[in-house]
C-alpha cells in the first residue's frame, strides 16, 4: 500500500483529538527516557571539576568547560592514568582497514554465491551463516594460541592491531557475505546474460555489471562492519593485552574501572568512544537500519 492511499484512508476517518494528544505524550515520554543517559553524558562532561558532584548529576552546568574531555583524551601524568588518544587512534587504524578488507571480500563471496551457484552451495551457505551467531568464547582459546604462533614478515599477530584486523575480517565473513549475496540476488539475470553476450567473463560481469551497482551494498556492509568493529570488546580485550595496542573500548573500560579517574572524566571518555559510531548513525541512519535487518536474516 502506498502512502498516498494511506493518507486517503486517514482523511476519511478524522481521529479524536484527545487520543492524539495522549499518543504524542507517550511518544515524547519514551523519547525523554531514551535520551536521559545522553543528557547525563553531555551535561557531566561539560561541568567544571569543582561543580561535579554525583548528588547534583541532573543539574545543568553553570558554564561550558571542556577540561573533562581534555583529561579523558590526554590522561593525567600526575594522577597516573593514560588518556584515550592512543586507544582512539588504535581503533581508527584497526577499524578502517578491517572494514575495507571485509567489505571487498564479502562482495566477492556474495557474487559467487548469488550468481555462480555450484553443487553444494545451498549447504555451504547456512554453514557459513552459523559463524555469525556463535558465541566467540567457543573459538577464543584456539584463536589466541594460533595468533601467538603466526609471525608473517616479522609482524606479530598476538597483542597487535594486525591480529585484531585478521580476527574481525574472518569473523566478519558470514555477515558481509550474507548482505552482498542478498543484494546481488536482486540484480536481474537478464543483465548478466546481456553482458555475457557482449563477451564478458566471470571477472567482466563483476567489474562492469555488479560492482558499479554495488554502492548501496557497500555502504550497508561498511557501516555494519565499522560499527561492530569499533564497538567490539571481546576480541580487543583478549587479543591485545598490551596497552599500547588496545582499542578504544578496552581503553574506556580501563578508565572507567579505575578508582582514581573522576566520574566526569569517565563520562567524557564515554562520549569520545561513542562519537564516531553515533555520527555514522546520525548521518547514514537509513543504511544502518538496513544492515540491522540483514542481521536478522530478512535481507
Amino acid at each position: 500500500m502506498t502512502t498516498q492511499t494511506r493518507k486517503l484512508h486517514r482523511s476519511i476517518k478524522p481521529p479524536f483529538r484527545w487520543q492524539r494528544v495522549v499518543l504524542y505524550a507517550v511518544l515524547v515520554a519514551f523519547a525523554v527516557l531514551y535520551l536521559m543517559p545522553v543528557y547525563v553524558l553531555i551535561v557531566t562532561g561539560m561541568k567544571s571539576f569543582t561543580e561535579v558532584s554525583l548528588y547534583q548529576m541532573w543539574d545543568l552546568p553553570k558554564g561550558l568547560h571542556f577540561d573533562s574531555y581534555a583529561k579523558a583524551w590526554f590522561g593525567s601524568e600526575a594522577e597516573g592514568f593514560r588518556g584515550l588518544n592512543v586507544n582512539f587512534m588504535n581503533s581508527v587504524y584497526l577499524t578502517i582497514p578491517a572494514t575495507i578488507i571485509s567489505a571487498m571480500w564479502g562482495s566477492i563471496n556474495g557474487y559467487i554465491l548469488a550468481k555462480w551457484k555450484f553443487r553444494g552451495s545451498n549447504v555451504l551457505f547456512p554453514l557459513l551463516l552459523f559463524g555469525m551467531f556463535i558465541p566467540y568464547q567457543s573459538i577464543l582459546i584456539p584463536l589466541v594460541q594460533t595468533l601467538q604462533k603466526i609471525n608473517l614478515f616479522g609482524v606479530r599477530f598476538y597483542g597487535s592491531i594486525p591480529g585484531l584486523i585478521l580476527a574481525h575480517v574472518i569473523y566478519g565473513i558470514p555477515i558481509t557475505t550474507l548482505i552482498f549475496r542478498n543484494y546481488y540476488a536482486n540484480v536481474p539475470t537478464e543483465l548478466i546474460e546481456a553482458a555475457r553476450i557482449d563477451g564478458a567473463n566471470i571477472f567482466g560481469i563483476y567489474r562492469y555489471v555488479l560492482f558499479p551497482l554495488s554502492l548501496p551494498g557497500f555502504v550497508v556492509v561498511m557501516i555494519w562492519q565499522f560499527t561492530s568493529i569499533w564497538n567490539d570488546f571481546l576480541f580487543a580485550a583478549t587479543i591485545t593485552s598490551n596497552p599500547e595496542a588496545q582499542p578504544i573500548t578496552v581503553g574506556l573500560n580501563n578508565l572507567a574501572g579505575s578508582y582514581i579517574v573522576e566520574w566526569n572524566v569517565q563520562m567524557a571518555g564515554s562520549l569520545i568512544a561513542a562519537l564516531p559510531t553515533l555520527l555514522v548513525y546520525i548521518l547514514l541512519g537509513r543504511f544502518f537500519l538496513r544492515g540491522l535487518m540483514a542481521g536478522s536474516l530478512k535481507g
Binding site: 519514551f30 531514551y34 535520551l35 568464547q137 565473513i173 571481546l234 569517565q266 559510531t277 540491522l292 535487518m293
Partner: protein, 299 residues
C-alpha cells in the same frame, strides 16, 4: 546458462579462501575448543591428558556456574519480554501517521549504534544507588526529586535485583531494534485488512489482538531469535557495568568463561563453559537457520 569450464574453476577458487577460513576459524576452532574441554589443562602450560567429561561434571556441580545459569535465564526472560513489549508498543504508536516519525524512530534506535561498554559505564552511574549517609544518586536521585522516593532501590548493588538491573540497560540499548522490526512488519500489513475489521465493528484492541499480532508472529520469532542469542552471549555489558557482583549476583557464563580461562588459566574449564554456551546458542539458532534457508529455497 552454459558456462565455460575455466570460469567454474575460477568461481570455486574465488569462494575457496572464505570457505577455508570459516572451516578452520569457526569449525576447526570449535573442534579444538571441544577437545580442550575434554583434557586436564588447568594451568598456563597445556596438558592434553584426556579426562573424558569430568570437566563438564565439575562445571555443573560448581556453584558459581549454577548461579550463572540462573542469572542467564532471569536476564533472558526479562530482556526478551521488555524488548518485545516496548518495541511492539512503540511500533504500534509510530504507525498512526505521526508527525516527526523519523525523529522519534531515530531517538529510539540510536542506542543500537553505541558500544555495550559505553552503555555499561553510563548505566553504572545512572543505577548507582548512592548511600543513605551522603544521599541518592542517579535514577534514585531523580525519584527523590519527583517525590517518588518509595521507588528507590539498590539496583545492581542489591543481590536480589542484581542481573535485573543489567537487563534495564540492555533493554535501553536493544528495544529500538524490536521497534524497527515490528514497524517494518506493520507496514507490510495491508491497511484494508484493518479497515474491513473496523467496518465489521471490531474494536481497536480486537484488531491488535486478532489481526495484527497473529500476522506479526514471524517478526516476533525473528526478534526472539536475535535478542535471545545476544542475551545468551552477553558479556561486554557485564564487564563495564557491574562485574560479577557480590555473590555472583550479576555473573553470567560468558564472564565466567573469560575470567577462568584468561585470568585463572583454567583452560579446560573455560573451554567446557564455551561449549555449553555454544550448545545453548545452537539450539536456538540452527532450527531457525534451517527454516529460513528452506523457505527461501521455495521462493
Amino acid at each position: 546458462m552454459p558456462r565455460l569450464n575455466w570460469e567454474r574453476v575460477v568461481s570455486i577458487l574465488l569462494i575457496a579462501p572464505a570457505v577455508i577460513a570459516i572451516a578452520v576459524f569457526v569449525y576447526g576452532f570449535i573442534g579444538w575448543t571441544a577437545y580442550a574441554s575434554l583434557v586436564k589443562w588447568d594451568k598456563l602450560l597445556p596438558d592434553f591428558t584426556l579426562v573424558g567429561l569430568s570437566n563438564y561434571q565439575k562445571l555443573f556441580a560448581n556453584q558459581r556456574f549454577q548461579i550463572d545459569l540462573g542469572n542467564t535465564v532471569v536476564f533472558t526472560v526479562l530482556f526478551l519480554i521488555s524488548c518485545l513489549a516496548i518495541g511492539f508498543l512503540l511500533a504500534l504508536l509510530l504507525d498512526q501517521q505521526i508527525r516527526g516519525e523519523g525523529i522519534f524512530r531515530s531517538i529510539y534506535l540510536f542506542p543500537m549504534s553505541i558500544s555495550f561498554i559505553v552503555t555499561g559505564v553510563v548505566w553504572r552511574w545512572l543505577l548507582n544507588p548512592g548511600s543513605p549517609e551522603l544521599g541518592s544518586t542517579g535514577v534514585n536521585l531523580l525519584f527523590d526529586m519527583a517525590g517518588l522516593g518509595f521507588l528507590k532501590t539498590g539496583w545492581y548493588t542489591d543481590p536480589k535485583i542484581g542481573i535485573m538491573a543489567v537487563a534495564i540497560a540492555a533493554t535501553w540499548q536493544m528495544s529500538g531494534y524490536t521497534m524497527a522490526m515490528y514497524l517494518a512488519g506493520l507496514r507490510a500489513i495491508p491497511y484494508e485488512l484493518r479497515e474491513a475489521a473496523r467496518v465489521d465493528g471490531a474494536s481497536e484492541w480486537q484488531i491488535v489482538r486478532r489481526i495484527i499480532l497473529p500476522l506479526l508472529q514471524p517478526v516476533t520469532l525473528s526478534a526472539v531469535i536475535v535478542l535471545g542469542h545476544i542475551s545468551l552471549k552477553i558479556y561486554d555489558l557485564i564487564v563495564s557495568m557491574t562485574g560479577p557482583g557480590i555473590g555472583f549476583a550479576t555473573d553470567v557464563p560468558a564472564y565466567f568463561m573469560w575470567d577462568t580461562t584468561f585470568r585463572g588459566n583454567h583452560f579446560s574449564r573455560g573451554a567446557a563453559i564455551a561449549i555449553v554456551l555454544l550448545i545453548m546458542v545452537a539450539v536456538l539458532i540452527v532450527p531457525y537457520l534451517v527454516h529460513s534457508i528452506r523457505t527461501e529455497a521455495e521462493l
